[in-house]
Point group: C2
Chain length 339, copies 2
Amino acid sequence: MSELKPGRSFVSAQQVAELAGVSRSAVSRTFTDGASVSETTRKKVLEAAETLGYHVNHLARSLIHEDSGIVCLIGADINTPYHSRLIDAITRRLQAINRVAMVINTSGDTDSVEAALRQTLNYRANATVVLSGTPPTSLINTCLNSGQHVILINRDDHLDGPENISVDNAAAAREAFHMLHRAGSRRIAVVSSQAGTPSLVARERAFETAAGEAGLDVTITRAGPTGYGAGFEAGRLLLSGSHRPDAAFCVTDLLACGFMDAARVEFGMNVPEELCVVGFDDIEQAGWASYQLTTFRQPIVQVADHITMLLDGEDPLRQRGGSVSFHADPVWRRTVRPK
Amino acid sequence: MSELKPGRSFVSAQQVAELAGVSRSAVSRTFTDGASVSETTRKKVLEAAETLGYHVNHLARSLIHEDSGIVCLIGADINTPYHSRLIDAITRRLQAINRVAMVINTSGDTDSVEAALRQTLNYRANATVVLSGTPPTSLINTCLNSGQHVILINRDDHLDGPENISVDNAAAAREAFHMLHRAGSRRIAVVSSQAGTPSLVARERAFETAAGEAGLDVTITRAGPTGYGAGFEAGRLLLSGSHRPDAAFCVTDLLACGFMDAARVEFGMNVPEELCVVGFDDIEQAGWASYQLTTFRQPIVQVADHITMLLDGEDPLRQRGGSVSFHADPVWRRTVRPK
DNA sequence: TTGTATGCGTTATCAG
DNA sequence: CTGATAACGCATACAA
């Protein structure tokens, strides 16, 4: 059987048909769910396919069905603990419903979000999931008109076309304030970043108003891009003054880790005795012994499940353009005084 | 111009041609690099395409060229700091050479690596990059015979068909030993995991033999899957005994972080005074103030660059099946005594 | 430069 | 159950 010499090319159904001594249609039917093939032909085809190394060309198949099986995941900072976990969860569930994820990294230049949207159209993706960034509305509409699902994660501008999945940042931020307030903190700092992401802004705002209602002023510090470094820098700035805060709400766990490290390493402070800290996201590091950060858990599983639910329901009548919001539950650890 | 009502379907070149009043070919040529179209038709086509929201169907285009532009990234534990950084770097560079990444998460069941290989064939990917896991040799050969690039990262079995990219784990592990030995450590523990990955085993082995050559015995602890938890548990086990080690080589930064936390939180030990620690990977957390871990930097950029280099070279005569190895350079921080 | 015709690999339809 | 044939959206050789 020296027939299978390295063809340097993909095997087609035609070749399989010839080797099996049947028609192309028979091959096609063998690999189509719910088609009627006799057991004998089926066996012959399967065997021929195996020896030749045949695999159905989904690209060609997608030309006929309006279903490529591709879902585009668009996002920046995908190496961030939160985003990588989200991508992990989404890809896993997508595969469970026979879809495959195409991830487009928009970390580069500014207009790469637009380029990403174009890619999703070029590859006839069934759906586009925007994890971060602001896509041009016109392109979103093109996607929608093309029959794509467009799923926006954590945007505040709830457009009517796309489906919006968000986290109730405001509720969590309010709760964060009350946790700190009940613990006796009165000079509370908010540590944020210069990113200005809708989620982050929502957390800042809600915390600020909750504090205002309790008669407290808060100062917001934005010392750089969202991450450990900015948190550390914020700690350095805030704690070197004479009027040190006695608590901090960090809008991200990464910021919180940096902030805590600055407090302890640079100023020798004890958490939570001298300084209470609350974070957001519940990244893995928040649970590490060095931090034991009290924070709010991102509903990653719910988000991923909801996405697959939207895509799996092949019901074309399904109402598109809804908005769902999941709760971020508090995770009590050790950076807030119990009392 | 009420022609552009939401078609719930992708726009085809045909429709653009009709609106522009030209032939299908003219549309095709407008979007094909190096085709000859007059400026007038080009303008007309572009305008029609814009109003209709037309985007070239790469799936159909790939049917003609043997070039889908898709590169499959296959791996498990993609939410790990090391893997997510690798994926970030690779996707970024892939996009720079006009390719798009399809990531297949093999975290689920065991034979999902095989399923992943099948997907890469189904989607006629130009290349398959295996970040982790052991794909069946037969399927690898199918990929190769189909004309795909197959790139294996950090596998020790250097097959002749695929291209292998690896890190010189042995050299780094040897260096790790000498760093600790020179610092005066004599009771050195190796902290590893039960994963048994080629990389990890190579590090263990090389460290062990280097120690043996210096007349030292090392004990290897594998307390769970590669991660913070296993490192913490290893610390608990190793440091509770009466014969405490005075140094540890953790084959992964995540293990090292867990180990250090156990040493400090559970046993109140000082690093590096009472205990030296060396990690591997140089994940972001290794540089955090709480750890300041001395470790070895994964050559992520080189790996990503090499991959794109392999794929960008459209030279079909290019020798396939090579092996490259990059060095992991030491990053000196504070967990090893200077002396 | 432009249009016509053909083929890429697949599936759906239809006749047998 | 099976095979021939027409699409799917696109690129290109060819003729004009």
